[in-house]
Point group: C2
Chain length 331, copies 2
Amino acid sequence: MKKIICLVFFVFFVLNVFAENKIDPLPSWKAGTIKNDIIQFVAVVTDKNNPHYVPPEDRVATFDNDGTLWVEQPIYPQVVFMRERMHKLAANNPEWKRTEPYKSVLRGTKNLTSDDFDVLIAATSADISVEDYQSVVKAWFSEAVHPRYKKHYNQLIYQPMLEVMDYLRANQFKVYIVSGGGQDYIRAFAYDAYGISPEYVIGATGDTSYVYREEQPELIKQSKLLFNCNYKGKPAAIHLFIGKKPIITFGNSDGDKQMLEWTQSGKGKHLMLLVHHDDAEREYAYDYNSKVGTFSKALMREVKTNHWKVISMKNDWKILFPFEQKPSDIT
Amino acid sequence: MKKIICLVFFVFFVLNVFAENKIDPLPSWKAGTIKNDIIQFVAVVTDKNNPHYVPPEDRVATFDNDGTLWVEQPIYPQVVFMRERMHKLAANNPEWKRTEPYKSVLRGTKNLTSDDFDVLIAATSADISVEDYQSVVKAWFSEAVHPRYKKHYNQLIYQPMLEVMDYLRANQFKVYIVSGGGQDYIRAFAYDAYGISPEYVIGATGDTSYVYREEQPELIKQSKLLFNCNYKGKPAAIHLFIGKKPIITFGNSDGDKQMLEWTQSGKGKHLMLLVHHDDAEREYAYDYNSKVGTFSKALMREVKTNHWKVISMKNDWKILFPFEQKPSDIT
């Protein structure tokens, strides 16, 4: 009898381990309410027998980029890129030394507002073809190194979020980036880093002009900003590019508020989440008092009023980056 | 012996009919070079063993709308819509009676330039939420009737092009509309008419403002034009929305020239086609001397220089519209 009981327990244990390994789509997430919320949400909207079922064509997911998919501290990676590029371009733009926000950026002394950021995106991506710009950005990624982690910036992407994006795509979601960063800048690394193709990258965009070089057409980037993609610019860009409301959305800062509101205003089931950077040991701890990726007290009040979900980097994520050991090794 | 020969012939005949029915993806197209070109192109780029193979993520197809996917004569359907809407809105905009292009449009006397068209798109789609605008357009489609065919405008879509779009999607192409028409206007009917979801509709776009009505966020369309989507605006919009060059593209007029050039400038295999309206009996015959859907002599010279393909409506299409008898009935 004892043997049989032992055998039953053993089989149970093996099946359990097997089942857990097989079905856990988010291995880098610690067990808890947030992980459950995400898995439950996907289960419900993909279940044809559930009243909250959403057909595949309406499964739209949007992710902010800076601070949501990759590290944005001590300063947005694109600002580092822009600053370095501005130094290279400064010889041809002597007025920058006298004009804000260029002047302070060149000196490295300015806290950038969202408007400054848009001005700089335009300035540092003008008078270059869209193809050449991609090459410049790619070259920068292969060289520039983060001051703390000593890794390339496109390696500092969050493993738990990669898993969420894979999980959503496996469930026929269309996964978009909707970022205040430059669209062409993000496109230069998004496919390799996140598996996100250019047509799923929405970001701040400058105008282009169409010219011929050696009888071949080229699009040359212009300094005129076409639209920004922060705050209320996010719902506007979502309408422009997608024409549907997302049903699940991830952000981390004040600039994402309207995207979460827009998602929540949809008729069907929806889920809104914000990453909270509360992990000084493994990453950074910041919220209302940070100029980069501000998570204001007002936003925290919105979280409570609207029942948005807050992801604690410290408590919800087993590991942060793909280059760390696999979560199965650490449990 | 005779019996056996008869049987062999019979089997041959049955197999042949079966095979033809099974493999013809473009039944409304007459056998000929254009039909062959399309089928050959798709066969080549989807064949992994062919040196011109294109992976699914790069199979981008772009279609102009007016005159390429639906009837644009005697005047673009959206102009009919805008004129009717302008009459409704004129009471609130008394200055229209004194200002061009509004004045002449209200009188029905003006040949619209591309710039006029953009001004009118903006004027007739402002101060209304994106959702309400869709409802207005949908209501118009269910009422307005084409003067010649006595059908709703969204029924006057080309059956042969529907087949091409289905065929491309079945071969893992992403099928986009890239139109000088208004993006939200086209989105209101594109899914039902063409099976094209909002995120695959690229068109002229006005700005929006983000407001709250009864605590719910709304995007209100503004009269300021964000970008147009004709001539050189087409490659710019293709880069903005897709970030890749199309490999196959269909247009019908001068406004599509740059889209064809942009497609042709891609590195891999590509195919550029223009619909020529040469069928006065079943539709309209017009080209360089038409103000609507101008196919200029300069464009025809580009066709020859660049080896673009011209689709003859008269000679290449068995039927024009879905409501006609099935092509198998007419052969």
